[in-house]
């Protein structure tokens, strides 16, 4: 089973990175991340009073948390919409549906295709931000060096993106089976998953950012939601409906 999923995901990811539309998004977000890091470092250097390390860490964790989550939400939604509805539009879906892929293999392959590029960019983004921020702090405010990220921030950045991606892709798969254009699928999916992007700010409500308990709770809830949405998308997946709508 996994071999076919891997063949599918590997080939489709290769195609995804050839898409001009998709290529531009990681570049823009990485650019945003770099600009944000530079801006933060500049801000620290110009404010008269030395910033509170605790406040600095919470702010960085929440804001970078958002950036890191944003990528695995926006990019997978776009890729999943293009990968399912786009295949319908480009008429490549029929031969694919006639291959021995089972419904779960097909959806898993599509999900991986959508999730992996987002994760690569999100992690790259995170590492880049760590490097830039701490590199600049070395010269501007050495007392803030390595205040961010903590181990908690790193774990958060590692586990949140795949959980958010899976949720976003699950919704997109469900929606993609019911719409006719990539644009519709993208719009509706983004609208549904957008509130999820506020999750990194939950920690701010208690003034200290995510702690281990909140992180664990959010991860468990997202994990359950991911599984439920995947099962739902599998139950709702219908070759007949997809083909009849062509």
């Amino acid at each position: 089973m996994l071999k076919k999923v891997w063949v599918m995901a590997r080939t489709e990811i290769r195609m995804v990175f050839k898409s001009r539309q998709v290529k531009s998004i990681p570049v823009m977000v990485v650019l945003f991340s770099v600009m944000f890091s530079v801006f933060m470092a500049w801000l620290i250097s110009v404010i008269p009073a030395p910033p509170d390390p605790f406040f600095y860490r919470v702010m960085m964790a929440s804001t970078m948390g958002l950036v890191v989550v944003m990528m695995p939400v926006i990019l997978p939604v776009m890729i999943a919409a293009d990968s399912i509805v786009g295949e319908k539009e480009r008429r490549t879906l029929v031969p694919l549906l006639a291959t021995p892929l089972t419904d779960s293999e097909l959806l898993l392959g599509k999900a991986l295709t959508a999730i992996v590029p987002g994760l690569v960019v999100a992690y790259a983004n995170f590492i880049l931000a760590i490097g830039i921020m701490n590199g600049m702090l070395l010269f501007m405010a050495p007392f803030l060096l390595w205040v961010w990220p903590t181990l908690l921030d790193v774990v958060q950045a590692l586990i949140m993106p795949p959980l958010f991606s899976a949720l976003a892709v699950g919704f997109t798969v469900i929606i993609s089976g019911r719409v006719s254009t990539v644009y519709e699928a993208y719009q509706i999916s983004t609208f549904i998953v957008l509130p999820a992007m506020l999750v990194p700010y939950i920690g701010l409500l208690q003034g200290s950012g995510f702690d281990w308990l909140i992180l664990s709770l959010v991860a468990v809830i997202l994990g359950i939601a991911d599984y439920a949405v995947f099962r739902l998308s599998l139950n709702l997946f219908s070759r007949d409906r997809l083909i009849s709508r062509l």
């Binding site: 050839k18 480009r90 008429r91 029929v94 031969p95 006639a98 291959t99 892929l101 070759r239």
Partner: protein, 312 residues
């Protein structure tokens, strides 16, 4: 005789429209089976159900013994599909070779075997030089060739071809027909071919079925269908010195021909029970001093049979 495709009481409706209406037929191992009918007759819908892409409202299809409803994965392993508008179904972001490699991979074809198979197909279809190009650069005909290669890349025992040559040029159509014919002769692969090109079906198919408005009208070998619908046989007679008027008069006088006429210097007559009546007609002609250059049967084409069955 091993049956590869069994269709039982198949019915498919789209809203109020019945696309396929109680269709039942069998296709045997190694057969090239032609599924003929006008546009919107139900040909493609039948193929889509057999390929597990659509679910029937009633009835089912067995491919190689597997039920499309109970064992769809097994069915999909067994079949190759060239879909309707197959030329437009390739990934433009992959090369032609990669397109075939992708589909071969999804069928779990071992790498070495897959490479050999792809090379073989590309060579036969004269695409070897263009293997590293994108299908985007191809004409519709070339894309269709790639679709055919994709349908055959995993060497499936049952191949569904939905209008495989309708958009190909005559030379390529002939080549594809010969290819299908060759594959069919090997008795290993079964081809189920939807087409509205009757000449194609006549050249290639062992048996054909006519479908119209979702209903199966006739199934049989082209020659059997001809015999069934043409009890009368038509003959053309050419005489030495080209004297058709005299010949016509003599044939008429025998009273054995149903109709006699002249066409382009030849006598054309229709008889029933030709095996009994023709020798008598020839005898009378010779007795009258006429010498015969040629007596040839005008065989009705599959198109004639089709028009008679479908009522065109």
């Amino acid at each position: 005789m091993i049956t590869r495709i069994e269709i039982h009481d198949l019915t498919k409706q789209f809203g109020d429209i019945t696309a396929v209406n109680n269709v039942s037929l069998d296709v045997r191992k190694g057969e090239v089976f032609g599924f003929l009918g006008p546009n919107a007759a139900g040909k493609s819908t039948t193929v889509k159900i057999a390929a597990t892409l659509l679910t029937p409202n009633k009835g089912t299809v067995f491919i190689n013994g597997y039920d499309v409803l109970e064992d769809p994965e097994e069915v999909r392993i067994t079949i190759g599909l060239l879909p309707e508008d197959g030329a437009d179904t390739h990934y433009d972001r992959l090369t032609n070779y990669e397109n075939l490699q992708y589909f071969g991979g999804l069928y779990n074809v071992p790498i070495e075997e897959l490479q050999n198979r792809i090379e073989e197909l590309l060579e036969f279809l004269e695409l070897t030089d263009r293997r590293d190009e994108s299908p985007r650069t191809f004409s519709t005909g070339l894309k269709q060739k790639l679709s055919l290669a994709r349908a055959l890349v995993h060497n499936p025992p049952v191949v569904f071809l939905d209008e495989p040559t309708s958009i190909l040029d005559p030379i390529m159509s002939k080549k594809v027909r010969e290819f299908i014919d060759k594959m069919g002769e090997s008795q290993k692969q079964t081809f189920f071919m939807c087409t509205h090109l009757l000449s194609e079906a006549e050249h290639v198919c062992d048996r054909v079925a006519f479908i119209s408005n979702g209903r199966l009208m006739e199934v049989g070998r082209p020659s059997d269908l001809r015999n069934k619908f043409w009890t009368e046989r038509t003959f053309e007679l050419q005489l030495v010195n080209n004297n058709p008027a005299k010949g016509k008069a003599i044939v008429e006088a025998t009273g054995l021909a149903k109709t006699v006429k002249m066409e382009g210097g030849r006598v054309v007559f229709v008889v029933e029970e030709a095996d009994r009546n023709n020798p008598s007609i020839v005898y009378v002609l010779i007795e009258a001093g006429l010498r015969i250059v040629e007596l040839r049967e005008r065989v009705p084409s599959l198109e004639d049979v089709y028009l008679k069955v479908i009522g065109g």
